[in-house]
């Protein structure tokens, strides 16, 4: 009996989810942070949903843990440090903030001169990299929050994404049409890539030093060390974000046609596509163990998807067919909180699965 994907919708944000990030695997599991825009900036009098509210969730279930309150504008970027003890957010209120991810308390507010778009911790959580509309990369020493950050200039348009790479010895940054590699120690540019189309996202995979860049309908893979191209795929629609599975077997991507696409990384074959979101997908990321991926959309929701459909993991519970009956297998276990009708609703709510190959789901 073939199983179809049941995406799990995480409620809470009512505004578009523009960024999401997973922590590493900690003794308490792994965690997920999501950032959303506040109310439309053209409605300054709207209270409540006026400001972006980054949220922390348990990574494997999507359960809400807490909301970081304090920003006074849309939150464009959010990240967690490796052990999920700290969070950092980048906002339209011209600040980046560092938070205690256990208590939810604000630890630091770092003033900038324009909208901040991206934040990233080093592996040891000692430094925070920020970038935004003022076209400067800033490096803050989190042990000396009063000290002035080191600044790297060179970008000619607003910085959309900035990431530490090569064990924090280098920095990768993307603006509208370029991706640049900088040396941390000398603060100078090492190499750059130019694009004809706007770069929509960038992901760095430390194991294998791979950089995933999306622009237009392309999903491109480059060496993070040399920036040399490795391969690229074309999707059916404009892609806003893509993520490579930790074992580099698949990649997932989502964009303007509201669908999530899953590809075989080695062959480039499209394996699955899922409808589910009611708006463009802004961000998509695999969990650190590769068992699920999360997508954030303009529709204000965060959804979790299984990498191997039908596997027991997190809130997904595998069902074994009854041995003696030749009939359609039905779940034997009574789910106290969800009736079968509700289960059907959860699954079919908005996810029509379109298999591009055989019904046996390749995973």
């Amino acid at each position: 009996m073939a199983m179809r994907q049941t995406p799990l919708t995480c409620s809470g944000h009512t505004r578009p989810v523009v960024d999401l990030a997973f922590s590493g695997i900690t003794p308490y599991g792994y965690f997920l942070i999501s950032a959303c825009k506040g109310a439309g900036q053209h409605l300054p009098r709207l209270s409540g949903q006026r400001y972006g509210k980054p949220m922390l969730r348990q990574g494997d279930t999507g359960d809400w843990i807490g909301t970081f309150l304090g920003h006074k504008g849309a939150v464009w970027g959010a990240t967690l440090n490796k052990d999920a003890t700290k969070a950092a957010t980048a906002a339209a209120d011209f600040t980046a903030k560092v938070w205690d991810a256990v208590s939810g308390d604000e630890l630091m507010t770092l003033a900038h001169k324009h909208i901040v778009k991206t934040v990233d911790f080093t592996q040891d959580s000692n430094y925070l990299l920020t970038g935004g509309q003022d076209k400067l990369l800033r490096i803050y020493d989190l042990n000396k929050p009063e000290a002035e950050p080191k600044e790297i200039s060179g970008h000619t348009s607003g910085i959309k994404k900035a990431l530490w790479c090569s064990e924090d010895k280098q920095i990768l940054s993307a603006d509208d049409k370029t991706v640049r590699l900088w040396d941390h120690a000398t603060m100078t540019e090492v190499k750059s890539l130019n694009f004809n189309m706007s770069v929509s996202s960038m992901e760095y995979i430390p194991e294998g030093e791979i950089l995933v860049i999306t622009y237009g309908r392309s999903i491109a893979f480059h060496s993070a060390v040399s920036l040399d191209p490795i391969k690229s795929f074309e999707a059916p629609a404009t892609i806003n974000s893509a993520s490579l599975h930790p074992e580099k077997e698949f990649l997932v991507a989502g964009g303007e046609d509201f669908k999530l696409y899953k590809y075989d990384y080695n062959s480039g074959e499209e394996l699955e596509s899922y409808k589910g979101h009611f708006g463009p997908i802004h961000c998509v990321r695999f969990s650190p163990d590769g068992e699920l991926y999360a997508s954030g959309s303009e529709d204000g929701t965060l959804r979790l998807w299984q990498t191997v459909v039908g596997k027991t993991y997190g809130l997904w519970k595998c069902v074994l067919p009854e041995e003696d009956s030749g009939e359609v297998a039905k779940p034997k276990i009574g789910f106290p909180e969800t009736t079968e009708e509700e289960l059907e609703e959860i699954a079919s709510e908005n996810s029509d699965c379109i298999y591009s190959s055989t019904p046996d789901v390749k995973a």
Partner: protein, 131 residues
């Protein structure tokens, strides 16, 4: 071509959302012990009760940590110190419900390597491994 009949993957429940009245980060959540200790005044009897529940929480967190340490050991090389100064090394497999026995493989003993073995926990003084 007929679309195959599929059933949706069952779920235990939906992810929990915000409670709607607080910012969360529950003080009795999983990671509670990672928060810095708030100093408490000792006089009031109501404080006594919360001390007990604090102790309970601490015990629960320590138990959880121990169970997670066992999980982290699976598949790893562990060295055990047994009675009378005997030291053995093995690959840790699993423990039983009461943590009375450890199932190990490739147990290196002074008299040879045992492919699979059960180590009685009451015989173990200490064990160490690198995660």
């Amino acid at each position: 071509m007929q679309t195959p009949v599929t059933i949706p993957v069952p779920v235990l429940r939906l992810p929990r959302g915000p409670d709607g009245f607080s910012r969360g980060f529950a003080p009795d959540g999983r990671r509670a012990l990672l928060k810095p200790e708030v100093p408490q005044i000792q006089e009031c009897p109501i404080v006594q009760e919360s001390l007990e529940s604090q102790e309970q929480r601490a015990r629960a967190a320590l138990r959880e940590r121990y169970l997670r340490s066992l999980l982290a050991m699976v598949g790893r090389q562990v060295s055990f110190t047994l009675h009378e100064g005997v030291r053995v090394a093995a690959h840790f497999g699993a423990t039983d419900l009461d943590v009375a026995n450890f199932y190990v493989s490739q147990l290196q003993t002074p008299i040879g390597v045992q492919a699979e073995a059960l180590l009685r926990c009451s015989d173990i003084i200490s064990y160490t491994f690198k995660p």
